[in-house]
Every structure is written in structure tokens, then in C-alpha cells.
């Protein structure tokens, strides 16, 4: 009888382990965002990606340091995962400058395939999209270049997320951290079993 609490605790832990499914971080199933990719192909997010896992990050192409690092992490995940059924997306939070043409140039620098796309959209849509995934930005530095154009940089959230086939975000890590690709590959391999 004195072991009853211990037995109950063990039972609870066992039940919990059996029912362990990833916690939903952001439920995007009832959301709909009209976006375009780097080839100006229209995309409805998340509907167009339902049925597959999506690994996504948030970048802007005038970012000289952190965003290429985030993009490299996505590339490493794609390479190590080696699963063509997983979609990779990088969504810009700077739609004013990141037109499809600019995103296409940015993509060409990294030699990426058709499973790795960059998305942009109308400013209002992008703002709503970033709110839905809790990505924050703020203008940091702003200067005028020699040709008189305004050049600004953005402080921004740093994350990589995984959305499940239903449209629910279930994994979120720091986007530029060097340890992140390995963790996401481990998580996805477990989920894809």
C-alpha cells in the first residue's frame, strides 16, 4: 500500500509518454495569406502546403549577416534530412524591397532547388503573417547611400519553425544557432517515421 503513490506516478508518466504528441505552438489552420514566391507564382499559405511538413524561416535580403546564416541553417537541414516531401520556405518581412525579382536573385546565390522557396506579398498581408507567427521587426540603422537612396536595416526575430501537414506550427528554434539544424533533423526524422 505504501508503494501506491509511486505506482500511480509511474502510471501517469507512462500514459503521458504514450500520448506525447508535439505541442501546438501556432495553429495556422484557419488562416489564409495570399503570397507570391520568387518566380511570382501565387501561393495561398498555409493551404498550398497542407499534407506536408514545412520548415520555414523569416528573413530580409538586405540583411548581410544573420539572415544568410539562417538560410544556411535551412540548407543544412534540407541536405541532412534528404527528404523531397519536406518543403522549405523563407518568408521576407521586408516586402517593400524584397520583390519576387529580388528574392529570385537572392535564391540564385544559394543554388537552391524547387523545394526551397522564398515568399513575399503585400505589406499588409506580410505584417499579418508575421503577427501570426510572432515575428517582430524594427528599423535599426538608416542611412542614405551615395546615389541618394535610403538604406535601412532591421532588428528582427531569429527563428526556424516546423509546420505539420495540418498547418500547425509544432517546432520552433533559434534560426541562426549552429546547433539548430541537427535538432530539427532529429525531430523531423522522428515525426516522419
Amino acid at each position: 500500500m505504501k508503494y501506491l503513490p509511486l505506482l500511480l506516478l509511474t502510471l501517469f508518466i507512462a500514459i503521458g509518454a504514450c500520448n506525447s504528441s508535439p505541442e501546438v505552438i501556432d495553429d495556422l489552420t484557419d488562416r489564409s495569406f495570399e503570397l507570391v514566391d520568387q518566380d511570382s507564382v501565387e501561393v495561398t499559405f498555409p493551404d498550398d502546403y497542407k499534407g506536408k511538413y514545412v520548415v520555414m524561416s523569416f528573413i530580409y535580403t538586405n540583411c548581410p549577416d544573420i539572415c544568410p546564416l539562417i538560410t544556411q541553417n535551412l540548407i543544412k537541414i534540407q541536405k541532412d534530412l534528404d527528404n523531397p516531401d519536406v518543403q522549405f520556405l523563407a518568408v521576407t518581412f521586408d516586402p517593400k524591397r524584397d520583390t519576387p525579382e529580388t528574392l529570385s536573385k537572392y535564391k540564385s546565390v544559394f543554388h537552391l532547388d524547387e523545394n526551397f522557396n522564398f515568399l513575399t506579398g503585400e505589406e499588409e498581408t506580410i505584417n499579418a503573417f508575421m503577427d501570426s507567427v510572432r515575428v517582430r521587426t524594427q528599423v535599426s540603422l538608416s542611412t542614405t547611400t551615395q546615389d541618394g537612396t535610403e538604406l535601412y536595416f532591421l532588428n528582427h526575430s531569429d527563428k526556424i519553425m516546423v509546420m505539420n501537414p495540418e498547418g500547425k506550427v509544432i517546432i520552433e528554434y533559434g534560426g541562426s544557432q549552429p546547433s539548430v539544424p541537427k535538432l530539427i533533423v532529429q525531430d523531423l526524422n522522428r515525426l516522419l517515421k
Binding site: P64, D65, L69, Q138, L141, T145, L151, F153, P178
Partner: protein, 160 residues
């Protein structure tokens, strides 16, 4: 008297020789000997952004301070530092970067970097970028750094 004069001459000569030797031994460089090691630059498109990274190696007992950078690919080359603050990744231009004596300073992804703003032409893999650094001492240091994709190696990312 001759003996005293001779002794004095020998003593003065010996002292002079000793002093000269001592001065020679204490000579040290007046400017730090700093080199650029393991440099590389990220590929980029004309009018967009790129960055250069390297390790500054100071092998002398003299500290110096990096005060500006220039390159042959962009008229607007700046020194910046990326770091996390209040949950956001932020970037700040650096007016100077101390290079302590007998120390190395890493310019790496997610940290210090040389920002190559809106390069005039595409920066392609296999090219090289000329980087010139100016120090507070007045010394300038130049290096050609190869253009290559980030390898994701530990050195590229460490300390982030």
C-alpha cells in the same frame, strides 16, 4: 699614471660596449604586427549585400585598434557587430574594434563582420575580394579573401 689611464680607457670601452648590447636587446617593434587569417567573403549579387570574415592575429606585445575598412567591391564598406538583444537580432556599426596584444579577434557570422554594402558587381564563388583595414596606429593591412559559400564549419559560427 699610464696604468691608470689605460684602466680608465678599458673600463669606459667595456661600459660602452655593454650599454650598446643592452640597447640592442631591448628593441621592440613600435607597431603591432597584425595579420589577416582565414579570410573569406560570401557570394552576393550586385546592389545587394555581402560580408567578409576573418581572424585578426596580433603576435606582438603592442595593442592596436581597427578604425575603418574598405574593399574593392563596394564604395560603402562598414564594420558591424550582430548580437541578440531583448529577443531580437540587432546590428550596430562599430567605430572601432580593439585588437589586444598577443590576441586574436574573430570576425565571424553572427558577430563582427565587414559589411560589403551594395557591391558594384556580382561577387561570385571563385572570385576574391580585396579588403583593406586601417588601424589607429596609422598602419594599414590588406588581404585578398576568397569568395566562397559559408561552409557551416564550426569556425564560421562559433561563439554565436
Amino acid at each position: 699614471m699610464k696604468k691608470i689611464t689605460l684602466l680608465l680607457f678599458v673600463t669606459i670601452t667595456a661600459f660602452a660596449c655593454t650599454s650598446e648590447k643592452k640597447e640592442t636587446m631591448e628593441v621592440t617593434p613600435v607597431v603591432a604586427d597584425i595579420s589577416i587569417e582565414d579570410g573569406w567573403a560570401r557570394p552576393g549579387k550586385a546592389g545587394m549585400m555581402s560580408a567578409a570574415y576573418f581572424r585578426l592575429e596580433n603576435t606582438t606585445d603592442i595593442a592596436d585598434t581597427l578604425v575603418s575598412a574598405s574593399s574593392n567591391v563596394s564604395n560603402n564598406t562598414q564594420i558591424h557587430l550582430s548580437y541578440e538583444k531583448d529577443g531580437l537580432m540587432v546590428m550596430e556599426e562599430q567605430e572601432f574594434v580593439p585588437v589586444p596584444a598577443n590576441a586574436s579577434v574573430m570576425f565571424k557570422q553572427g558577430g563582427l563582420h565587414i559589411m560589403l554594402i551594395q557591391p558594384d558587381n556580382d561577387i561570385n564563388e571563385g572570385d576574391s575580394v580585396a579588403v583593406e583595414l586601417t588601424f589607429k596606429s596609422g598602419r594599414t593591412l590588406s588581404a585578398q579573401v576568397p569568395v566562397r559559400p559559408a561552409t557551416g564549419m564550426k569556425m564560421d559560427m562559433q561563439g554565436h
